[in-house]
Structures are given as C-alpha cells and as structure tokens.
C-alpha cells in the first residue's frame, strides 16, 4: 500500500465512514432524508428448492368463501406474495375476485392469534403450550360426555369436516355448520319445486336471457367468479355471434353490484318476486310461448291465480311490463332465471325460489341451464334451523362443550348466540383471529391459515380441490386444526396422512393406472382432480302446485329494511383486511364504513343529507347508520350492508361503523332459514358523519369518459366504422403537426415508439366489465399499494392506481337502469402531458411507449399530476412504510406480503400504474433467455389476470396479430379524452346497452 495522499488506508476509511455515518445517522434520526441502507444477509445454507429472485407457484384452493376457486400462489423466498386464479380449475377458469386476492392479508394479518391461549381468572388470556391445551381439551371431553358436545363449523365440505363428523360420532356429540348468509331458501325452494334440496349449477355462459330475482350472482351468490365469467360470455357484446348479448333483467328492491349490470332494473315491491315469476310462467303457459313440459299442467290452478293483471297490483308493476318480460324470456329460447340473495331472504323466500323454479321449468331451462347433478357443495351444509336449535340448546344449558371452527356467529347473531355462549360449559375456538366468538371462548387453539395448511374441498359434485401449504407458518405456534383434532382423538399420524388416506379412494376413481404417489403429485400440481358429475333429470314435485309466494309485510315498524351482504366484506369476515376495507363498495363507492341506502324522494321527505344518521329500530335491535342517498333503491325500502360493526376481530375491523345483523331476528322462519328483511322505524338522530366515498360529485360534464351504444347501433357497425373516432388535428394544422411529429421521432433516440419496439396497450371492454373491483385489489397486491385508512381517504389520499368509475345509466324518466363501470388507470399516453413538465425526468417515455416513473428520481413537484387529464397519479404524502408510524400500511408481519419485484415507494414521490412493468420485463427476460420473442398473451398485468369477466386484454399494439391490436381496432373502441391528443395506449370498448 502506498502512502500517497490519495490512498485510503484503513484508519482513514474508518474515519470517513464514522463521520459520514454519524452525519447520516443524525439526519435519518430526525426522519429526514433517505432511509439508511439495510444489510443483505445471504442464506448460510441456501434451501435447494429456492432460487433467490425467482418465484415458485403452488396450486391450491381459495377458502375465502365456499365457492372453492382454484388458485396459484406465488411464493418468493419462501413467502406467499400473490394469489392468482388457477386456469385449470373449472370453477373460476383462472380468475379471482377481490376477496380471493386479499387472502394474503389474512395469512400475514398483524392481529392473528399467534399461539394457544387459555382464559385466566381476570378475563384475559394466557399463553399455554400445545400439550397443555390438548390435555385440557381431553379433560373437558371426558367430563362433557353425555352433557352435550357440539362442533360448530362454517360451510366446510372438506376432509376436515368429515374428520370432525367422525370425531363427534366417537364422543357422542354433533357437528353443526353455520353460514351467516346460508342458502336455506334455495334448498327449501328446490325441495318444494323439484323434491330435491340440492343446489344445482347454473350455466350462465350459454344463457340467452338472464333474469335474476335478487340473486347477486356477480358478487356474493354461490360461486360469483364462476358465474361472472359465464355471465360475461353471455352478456358481452360480440358482433360476430348470432343474437349476441343476452339481455339481463334484475328484479329486486335495490340495485346491487349484480343489479347495476342489468340492462333493465325491475324494482318490484320486496317479497313479490315470487308472484312475479308465477305471473310470467302464467303468460308463457297460457300463450304457449315455450314447449311447456306436460306435467306443468298440474300448475294450472296456481298459475290461474297469478295472472299478470292480479300480480301487477301486488308487485306495483305495470301489467304490460310483466307480459313483455315473459315474452322476451320465452322468446330468447335460452332464458335462465335465478332466485337468491335478497329474494331468498324474505320470510317467503323458499316459495319465491320455488316460483322461479317453476318459471325456469315451464320455459324449459331446467336440465339445460339449470343442471342438477353437478350440484354445488353448499347444498350439503347444515341449515339455519339446525343452528337455531343449537342456540336454543346453548341457552338451555344443554351444551357442555362447544368447539367453533371457521365461523363467527357471535358477530352475525349478536344477541342470541352471545347470550347462549355464556351458558356453555366450556368453549374452544380454533380461530386464527380474535373474532367475537373467539373472544368469548375459554380456550383458543389457533388454526393455520388456509395458505399454510393441508386440506381439500368439494366445491361442486365431481370436483375435488386440493389445498397445500404454500409456505412455512408465519407463526410457528399455530397448528393445523386437523392435526390438533387427530391428537385430541389420540389417532396416530398427521392430518396430511389422514387427507392422503381419503384421497386413496379418489385414486381408485380418477387415477387409474397411476401409483398413489403419482396421482397425488398430479393432483397437487393441478390443484385437484376435476371430474364431471352426470346430470340428473328432475321433475315437478307433488307440492309444487301448492306454493304460496305471496308477500307478507314485515312487522315491527313502518319501514322495510333489507340487510344485504357486503360485496367484499361479506358477512364481516373481510373486515380485518385493509385492502378490502379500503376498496370502495362497487355500488356506493363507500369505503371503511357502512351506510343505509335511502332514495332521494324519501331523503327529501325526511330532510336527510348524505352522512346524516338514521336510527333504525327493529323488533330485535337497533343500529345507527349514516345515510347514502341513491336512486338505486326503492323509495319505500331502506337497505343496509353487513360486514362492519365488529366488537373484536383486530385493529382494522374493531369498533368501526355498525353491525347490521343487530336488526335481525335469530329464529328460523317457516322454511328453516333466516329472514333478512325486517320492519323497522327510522328516525333522524341529528348526528352527521363524513363518509368516505370515492364517487365524483354529481357534475355531469365529463364527456368522453364513458361511451355507450345501443344494441341495434352496435350490431349495425361494420369493421370500418369508428363512431368514436375523433379528428384530433384540425385540417389547417395537419401538415405542421405531422412535420413536428416526424422531427420528434427523428430526434428522439429514446421514446421512439414508432420503431421496432413494442407499444404496450390495453383494451378494456366495458360491455364485459361489471365493476366487481377484483382488478383493484389485484393491483394493490401486485404493486405494493399502501392502504391509507379512512381518515386519509376522506382527504382524498387513497393510492389506488386503478379506480373503477361508476356512471349510472338512466332511462327516459331519469331512473337508474344499471351502470357503466370504467376501470381508469394510467393511459400510458403516447403524447403524455405528464412527461414534459417533470423538471427532473422522473416521468419519462420508455422506448416501448410506457410512461415511466422513476421513483428514485422523483423529487415530488407533483406537476405531472396537475397536468394529467385522467388524474391517475397518486402521491405519497406520508411514509406509509414507516415502522410504527402513524400511517403505517404494513405493520409486521403484513409487510411480508410485499412483492419483492416492486419498489415500496418513499414519502414524497409520485406513483401510478406501470402496466405491471415488472411483469413485462420478467417476460422479456425470459424470452431473451429462451432466444425468442415475447408471445402474445404471455404478459398479463395483475388487473387483467384477475378480471373474472375477462374484460381487460394486454398486449403489443405493434403486433398485428395480437389480441389487443384487434380489439383496439374494434368499431366500439374509443380513447378517453381523445380530443386532448394524448394518444392513450388504453382503448375502451363502448358499453352496449341492450334496452335501447
């Protein structure tokens, strides 16, 4: 080493390091300046199956609801970071909803129960060991034998459920299953009409006309992803298809997410859906509009009682409308009517379902579009009346030992169940979260999250879906309930062994000629085995002619209140996931809080403004709810979502808003289900609250944001027609603009998107988009978007790169008839206004036509956002990643779900949609390694990947064979704000309105 002045010896190096280090430490201690660089520690012994920086995908099954969608879990460095649909699954065909996308926020939830706990004398919980916990349960089991042992589960059609059944038989107990929004009416209605309580599968994809009586099949009903995928195939406009676009009519007192996708909204009086269906059947039969099966003759008396004239008076609808609907339904030769959701939750719900079944039957849909045989698993779960009996047993002190797994009735039955719980001798909960039921338990044996455990499920007859651990448990002291039950039972082996034992039976049926190992590995790789169940013909049941769907007015108050499941929080289980809380409800666009829907006329009569509180008082309870004024509900109905109002369930859910379940009774009604429409009184309390809504003000001036076409006009369009084409440059300026453009291309080495480079583009078909918002949550998951919470959302600080703009469509009288939903993300303009104004080139044009945003270069002048006409740029006002900070978006261990491929943005920088540039670059790198070009369809941004209706297509606009190129040239295509000459890369395809 030389001793010259420029040489760096150890002492000098340390001195400089010390001084600058101290300076940097002092600066960063004040919280100013860049975060200090963290050390990277390599694996000491690298795991063999993991390549750092390369993702592994595991096939599994989503357990966020009972639909059982197949999923692929993306695992990076041993942590699950993203969930996508499994294209092989016949349920969801590779698609996923917002709730499924949010599953990682369950596994990494900061409020998980981390180990077994027992209640102490002070009322709190003490941690104990598993051995201790298991011996306690065994002790209690012996004592409770003969005094009532009950195992309560959610809708669990799995090997675990079977294991529990075994166990309960062994100890003389019983298993009861409970779903807050069960499908009792559906099953009872099917029994009434067809003599079977099975829940059939519905073929939306091949329907020519869809009529929904309250069934929210796009958001909460049975299997929403599957139905949405099918529905969009039927309902989307496809110019090449004969008779394209199945008309969709929604009957119900309020417009749900499903309702707002209808071409026509029939706001019949609540509870009259059944008589309406019968009247339509009557029209079809009496006018011989369809080949009515012969046994329908038995219905003559029933139908004669329900002529359109009589029914018109009951439903409050025009007689002509009923006849028209019936005629259209029959004429479509492929009409599918479904009943559920709200219509199945009245006291006469079963009769309504039966009436709709009759309509399907006379129109010939049963067996063709309504298929018994491949029945849905929800038909096998317990009924609400079983559960009501359990509640009564509990209240009567006839339950000595209660196990609860996968359900939270203390939230959805706040009165009766909680009171009953107090009289149960010993309560054991397997909850992963401290929910209301777990909080009342004596012993908590925390289960693994579905992403961490072995299991299976049977979503539909013939389909056996597997669930495998995709990662090591986040909390090592949590244990799979299957293992715990086996241990308590004293059986050898693990739950995985038990599961494999059961799958050996399946091997005999599906794995002919394969060793079990082979069969098992195949099933794991594909997410399960997908067989077909043979169709089973059904005939009208004896009692079908005796149904009585006439509505009974709800008692208990002058106002009908309907309680409906929140599209993403559902019965409240989604409330502890900030992604779902921050996701604006697709209809109301309200986030982080509940609301009561009030029609403008009613609001005017009661002198209400949005945000004013109404006190709703039913015979069973009362809630205070802020008003959302909307024309999407009947004037004589108030509608309240569930989902909020938790008394426990973690920081994101607890003490937020109100619990709509409190309005409901706990008794089973005539058909053994729960009634969700109650009579109530409504009083203005005088209180007011700001509720977070992302909806724009009522200004109607933003032209060009969404476009619609009538069906007739859309059909008449030829390939060369471009009704939305804007002549962007006036004639006199053409020459000079072209000259300028050429010079630009010549001069700019970078940003020359006219050359060999691809030009990435999106096509969004508004005829397919339902507004379900799966894409939004997928974007949060893929791109590390921060959730900011209610307070900051009120100040317009949400970071959602992709927002769904919902514009009501109205009829001639101004009544809403559905809505157009437009996903609005960065348009990656070819001539982007954001780029020239950035003083530091943080916003710049990439050679492949993207509007790049260099987070590290951004100083945060925010000029780009001001100049963006689409307003799709979002600013980091705080450091949302600050450990322990007030606005921390990812408290430990939630931070583990961060996508390592995407930067977590610092405070003070602008961010926006990148078209998932990390996926583009990933695919390009892969193609380069394989010495080929990127294939069309190989790059799928998170939004497009998730979209259940396949409305979003991504690709290269310079590739003339690409799907996106074809869509971009579609006559329905238009660019938002094309008149500004921004040359966006996103082409929207106009919504086709079929009632025009």
């Amino acid at each position: 080493m030389t001793d010259g002045p420029n040489s760096i010896d150890r002492r000098r190096f340390l001195k400089v390091l010390g001084v600058t280090g101290a300076g940097a430490a002092a600066i960063s201690a004040c919280g100013i300046g860049p975060e200090p660089t963290e050390k990277l520690i390599p694996y000491l012994i690298p795991p063999e199956d993991q390549i750092p920086g390369t993702a592994t995908y595991y096939a599994s099954t989503c357990r966020e609801c009972a639909a059982g969608c197949g999923i692929h879990v993306r695992v990076r460095e041993g942590r699950a970071v993203k969930i996508e649909g499994n294209p092989e699954s016949p349920i969801n065909s590779g698609r996923l909803c917002a709730r499924g996308q949010a599953a990682p926020q369950g596994v990494y939830n900061p409020d998980r129960v981390t180990g077994p706990m027992v209640r102490n004398t002070a009322g709190g919980f003490d941690s104990i060991t598993w051995d201790d916990a298991i011996s306690r349960v065994q002790g209690k089991l012996t004592a409770a034998r003969g005094h009532g042992i009950v195992f309560l589960t959610g809708a669990d059609a799995s090997s675990f459920g079977d294991l529990v059944d075994d166990w309960m038989r062994q100890v003389g107990g019983r298993r009861v299953s409970y779903e807050a929004f069960g499908f009792d009416a559906l099953r009872a209605g099917n029994r009434l009409a067809f003599g079977t309580a099975a829940v059939p599968s519905y073929d939306f994809a091949n329907a020519k006309y869809v009529l929904s009586f309250g069934a929210d099949f796009l958001d909460t009903w049975l299997s929403p992803v599957s139905f949405q995928n099918g529905f969009s195939r039927a309902h989307a406009f496809d110019g090449s298809r004969d008779g394209s676009m199945a008309k969709f009519v929604f009957v119900g007192p309020r417009m749900s997410l499903t309702g707002m996708n209808a071409d026509e909204w029939v706001a019949a009086l609540p509870g009259t859906e059944g008589v309406l269906a019968l009247a339509m059947a009557q029209v079809i039969v009496s006018r011989r509009l369809a080949a009515v099966p012969t046994d329908a003759g038995r219905l003559a008396a029933l139908l004669a009682d329900h002529t359109p004239a009589k029914v018109a008076a009951i439903t409050g609808l025009d007689e002509k409308l009923i006849v028209r609907l019936a005629t259209e339904f029959a004429a479509a030769k492929g009409g599918l009517a479904v009943a559920g959701g709200m219509a199945a939750q009245y006291a006469n719900g079963a009769d309504i379902v039966a009436a709709v079944n009759i309509l399907n039957y006379v129109a010939g849909a049963v067996g063709k579009l309504v298929k018994f045989g491949p029945d849905l698993a929800v038909g096998e779960t317990g009924t609400f009346s079983d559960f009501a009996r359990l509640t009564a047993d509990m209240a009567g002190g006839r339950v000595a030992l209660l196990f609860v797994h996968g359900t939270n009735p203390a939230h959805s039955l706040p009165g009766a169940f909680t009171q009953g719980l107090a009289k149960v001798g010993y309560k054991v909960s397997f909850a992963s979260f401290m929910d209301e039921t777990a909080a009342a338990a004596d012993l908590i044996l925390p289960d693994l999250h579905p992403l961490e455990q072995w299991n299976d499920s049977r979503p539909r007859a013939g389909i056996y879906a597997l669930q495998q651990p995709t990662m090591q448990p986040v909390f090592p002291e949590t244990r799979q309930s299957g293992d715990v039950v086996l241990k308590i039972m004293g059986r050898p082996g693990t739950y995985r062994d038990h599961l494999q034992g059961r799958w050996r039976e399946l091997q005999r049926r599906f794995g002919a000629g394969k060793s079990f190992e082979q069969f098992w590995m195949d099933a794991l790789q594909h997410g399960g085995v997908y067989g077909d169940a043979p169709a089973r013909p059904v005939r009208l049941a004896e009692g079908a002619s005796r149904i009585a769907p006439a509505p009974a007015a709800p008692t208990g108050g002058d106002q009908t209140v309907v309680v409906f499941p929140h599209p993403v929080l559902h019965d409240g289980r989604g409330a502890n996931k900030p992604w779902l809380q921050e996701l604006p409800d697709p209809v109301s666009k309200i986030a982080w809080h509940g609301w009561v829907e009030v029609h403008p006329e009613t609001a005017k009569r009661w002198d209400l403004a949005t945000g004013d509180f109404l006190l709703l008082k039913s015979a069973f309870g009362a809630v205070k709810a802020p008003v959302w004024i909307t024309a999407s509900v009947r004037p004589d109905v108030l509608a309240v979502p569930t989902g909020h109002g938790h008394a426990a369930y973690g920081r994101y859910a607890k003490d937020r808003s109100f619990n709509a379940f409190e309005l409901l009774g706990a008794d089973a009604n005539a058909y053994g289900g729960r009634t969700f429409a109650v009579g109530a009184t409504a009083t203005k309390t005088g209180e007011h609250r700001k509720i977070v809504t992302t909806e724009g003000s009522a200004r109607e001036r933003g032209e060009g944001s969404v476009e619609t076409l009538t069906l007739a006009r859309a059909k008449s369009l030829g390939a060369a027609d471009h009704p939305f084409h804007h002549e962007e440059t006036p004639e006199y300026a053409k020459e000079s603009v072209e000259w300028w453009g050429e010079r630009q291309f010549e001069q700019a080495e970078l940003g020359n998107y006219a050359g060999e480079q691809p030009r990435w583009g999106l096509a969004v078909d508004l005829s397919k988009c339902t507004g379900c918002s799966a894409c939004v949550t997928a974007c949060y998951a893929e791109n590390n978007l921060a959730t900011v919470g209610e307070e900051l959302m009120m100040r317009g600080r949400e970071m959602s790169w992709l927002r769904l703009e919902r514009y009501w469509l109205t009829d001639a009288e101004g009544h809403p008839q559905g809505a157009v939903n437009s996903p609005m993300m960065c348009q990656q303009c070819g001539n982007a206004p954001c780029e020239p104004v950035c003083p530091v080139y943080a916003a710049y044009h990439t050679p492949d036509g993207l509007n790049g945003q260099v987070y590290n270069r951004c100083v945060g002048t925010r000029y780009c956002s001001n100049n963006c006409p689409y307003k799709v740029r979002y600013f980091n006002w705080y450091n949302y990643a600050e450990r322990g900070g007030e606005w921390e978006a990812w408290p430990e261990p939630l931070s583990m779900l961060l996508n390592p491929d995407v930067t977590v943005r610092e405070r003070g920088v602008m961010e926006k949609c990148t078209f998932c540039v990390q996926r583009i670059r990933g695919a390009q790198n892969k193609a380069r390694l394989e010495d080929r070009n990127v294939r069309d369809g190989e790059i799928v941004p998170a939004c497009a990947q998730s979209c259940p209706s396949e409305a979003i297509v991504f690709g290269d606009l310079h590739d003339r064979n690409s799907e996106v190129y074809k869509l971009a040239g579609n006559p329905r295509g238009y660019h938002v704000l094309a008149g500004l000459n921004t040359k966006p890369a996103v082409t929207y395809l106009a919504r086709v309105v079929s009632n025009g």
């Binding site: 317009g796 020239p836 104004v837 003070g908 500004l980």
Partner: protein, 449 residues
C-alpha cells in the same frame, strides 16, 4: 432652515433620513418580535413537514398544488412593483419615484427571497431540491429544460440577482452619507458597505452610468419574470390554466399587488419615521393611479377569461369557469373579484385617492384579493378539473398550510424591518436630485451643510 418656502432642503433630507436609523423604540421591537414569532411558527411547521411529510397540509387528490404555490406566486407578484418603480420609472424619468423606490426595491428583494422558499418547501423530497438545479454531476443527469419549473428557476434566480445588485448599488451613496453621521458599530458597518464612496465627480459619473445600465437590464425582467411564472400554469392543459392571456394577465396582477403592498408598507413607515415631508400625498396618489391602471387590466383579464370560456364553446372551459364562479369555492372567487376588480374602482375618486387611511385599507384588500386570485387559479382550477368527472376534491387548507404562510410573512417582515432600521429607507441622493438646488444666499455659513 431659514427658508420659509420649504423646509425640505438637502440638509433636511439627510438629517431626516439619517434619523430613521436612530435607536429603535419599543414599537419597533414589538413589530420585529411579532415578525420573528411568525417566522418561528413557520420554522416549526416546516420541521413537522420535513419529519412527517406534506400530508400534514391540506392537499387532496387532485389538488396537488395549493397554498404553498399560491404563496409563491403571491410573493413573486409582490416583488414586481419594486423593479417597476426603481427601473422603469427611472428610465421614464418620473421624479416622484425617488421618494418611494428604495422601500419598493427592498420589498422586491425580500419578497423574492420569500417566494424562493416555497418551491423548496412544497416539493415532496425537500432534501433532493438540488436535483432541480443544472450542475454537472457524476450521474450525467441534467434537469428537463422543457419543464416550466426549470424556466421558473432561471427567471426567479435572475430576478433575485439583478434586483439585489440594483438595490445594493443604489444604496452606496446613501450609506456613505449616513456613514459620515454614524458612530460606533454602525460606522464600521457603513464604512464597509459604502465601499469607499467619497462622492467625487468621477465616482458619480460612473455610478449614474452604471445605474442606468442596471435599470435597463432590470426593465425586461419586470415583464419576463412573471410571464415565466404564469407559464407554469399556461403551459399545462388544465382548464383555467391553459390560456394565452396568462403572461400579460399575471404581469399586470403582479404590479398591481406590488403597488398595493408598497402602499401598505409606506403608510406606516411614513408615519413612524415622520417622513411626511419627503413622502407626500402626491406620491401616494401616483401609486394609487398605478394601482388603478393595473387593477383595471386585471379586471379586464377576468372579463376576458370568462368571455373566452363562453365564446370558445369548449364545454370543459365553460365547466371550469362555471365551477369557479358558482362551485363550492365560489367564496374565494368572489372575494377575488370584489377585492381586485370592484373595490379599487373607488380610486377613481380623488378624495379617496388622497386619503391615506382609505388607501391603506384598500391596499390591504387588494393584497387579500390578489392572494385569492392565485388561490382561485391554482386550487379551484385543480379541484374543478372538468376533464375527469370522477374527481372528488375535498380540499381544505390545514394548520400546516397556514403555519408556512404565516412564517413567510414573518420572514418577509423580519428582513424588511431590519432593513428600514439599518439602511436608508428613502434614497437620500435621489430625493436631493429632484429638489430645487439650494440658492447661494450670501449669508454667513451658507446653506450647503
């Protein structure tokens, strides 16, 4: 002094102005204390902003520029009348400017100093502000010269340099004059600041040539600086910003607000420093005529904006201006219209024009109105962004906005107060230039003291 015609003689001028530099009284310290207290509020607010982020201010999507940029434009605007009065009126040989230009020029320098702080405070990562500055660096990165923000930097930088040099240069003979009267530390300070000025013919010859040259250099800046600032807005495509009228509209507004601010500052200074003989009602009347002229141009610009919005037939333009006048921020718009376009019409009346109390009150309203003009242009245009109906602005300023704004007033007044107590606030040399030369009376001693 024996001259009965006027008390204002060369000697009187020197003594009166030198007296303003005497030991300050309690009132001065109270004012200075208030200014420093405001500044302290601003500094504490700034520390909070640096620690926690700009989220503390009221920003709400899509209102991404708000009070800070409003204040920036406000202070740059204030800065404009100084150079107008000192340079342009100098070139036009308006004698009346001599009594008021020094105050106006000091105001200019301090206002630019204040304005320059805002872009630094307002950016998201303040610690990287230097990335906006073009300097050769190891990353080989230059700022984007297409961005109006970079033009701004040059405009403001040039303006600050030239106006500071102009101010200091004009001060040299005056400092030399007070140097000769001062004692103690002031003597040392003035000796240093007067750079050896002796008042020889040669020095005066160089000085006046130089001054003229600088005045010629500063003159185009009066027009260019605020034009460039206006292009921050006019170059963007936001309806309500994107208008060719912006440069003259902003320059007129700037001079208007600057003149109003000069009146606001001069009325109390004249009273406190007993400069009634030097700064007369005539001066104020001239200033208010300037206000009347520029105010009318501003009023005309308002009319033009609304007319063009209507006349263009462009629905987004129409919507933007409808929102401006009748949307949720109507109160800001009408404050601006009343204060800027209607209230100053009172200045047509000579009685009001020559009533200093009335002038003072009107000037304060004009200041308020001009602040709101920028608020309306910036905040209301962004909030009402008509391209995207799905925008949902809920903008309201918070304590952080007001704190920084208060701090800016504190910062400005602190410098201003320190200046007027330590340097001649009225030009001694130039006031003498417009006085009638002393008559050589054949008396003992003469009157050339």
């Amino acid at each position: 002094m024996a001259d009965g015609m006027t008390r204002v003689t060369y000697d009187y001028v020197t003594r009166t102005i030198a007296r303003t530099l005497g030991n300050p009284g309690r009132g001065y310290f109270l004012l200075l204390g208030a200014a420093v207290a405001l500044l302290a509020i601003g500094i504490v607010t700034l520390l909070f902003l640096l620690r926690y982020g700009l989220g503390l201010a009221g920003y709400s999507h899509p209102v991404y520029w708000a009070v800070f940029i409003t204040c920036f434009v406000f202070w740059v605007g204030i800065a404009h009348s100084g150079t107008l009065i000192s340079a342009i009126l100098f070139l036009f040989r308006s004698g009346w400017r001599t009594a008021v230009y020094r105050t106006a020029e000091a105001m200019t320098v301090f206002a630019v100093m204040t304005a320059g702080l805002f872009p630094l405070i307002h950016i998201g990562r303040q610690w990287y502000f230097y990335w906006l500055i073009p300097y050769p660096n190891e990353r080989g990165l230059w700022p984007n010269f297409k961005s109006p923000l970079i033009w701004d930097e040059f405009a403001i930088g040039t303006y600050f340099t030239v106006s500071t040099v102009f101010l200091i240069m004009g001060l040299i003979p005056d400092i030399a004059a007070v140097r000769d009267l001062a004692t103690g530390w002031r003597k040392k300070l003035y000796t240093l600041c007067s750079v050896g000025w002796r008042g020889t013919n040669e020095e005066w010859r160089h000085y006046t040539r130089g001054y003229l040259y600088l005045a010629a250099l500063a003159t185009p800046l009066v027009l260019s600086v605020h034009s460039v600032v206006s292009w921050d807005f006019a170059m963007a495509i936001v309806p309500g910003w994107h208008a060719t009228i912006f440069a003259p509209y902003f320059v007129a507004g700037a001079i208007y607000s600057g003149c109003a601010m000069v009146i606001t500052l001069l009325v109390p200074i004249r009273k406190l420093f007993q400069l009634e003989e030097l700064i007369t009602v005539k001066h104020f009347e001239n200033l208010s005529k300037l206000c009347l002229l520029t105010g009318s141009i501003v009023g005309y610009a308002y009319v033009c904006e609304y007319f063009i919005a209507w006349f263009s037939g462009n629905p987004t333009e129409r919507a933007a201006f409808w929102y401006r006048a009748f949307g949720p921020y109507w109160w800001a718009t009408w404050t601006m219209l009343i204060c800027n376009a209607f209230l100053p019409l009172l200045l047509w009346v000579k009685k009001i024009r020559t009533n200093l109390t009335a002038l003072f009150v009107i000037s304060i309203f004009v200041n308020i109105g001009m602040w709101f003009e920028r608020y309306v242009i910036i905040v209301v245009s962004l909030a009402g962004e008509p391209h995207t109906p799905w925008t949902n602005a809920v903008y309201n300023p918070t304590w952080a906005d007001w704190g920084i704004m208060a701090g800016s007033f504190g910062w400005f007044f602190m410098w201003f107060l320190l200046f007027v107590k330590n340097f001649p606030a009225v030009s001694i040399a130039e006031v003498k230039e417009v006085l009638a030369p002393p008559k050589r009376v054949a008396a003992k001693g003469g009157a050339h003291a």
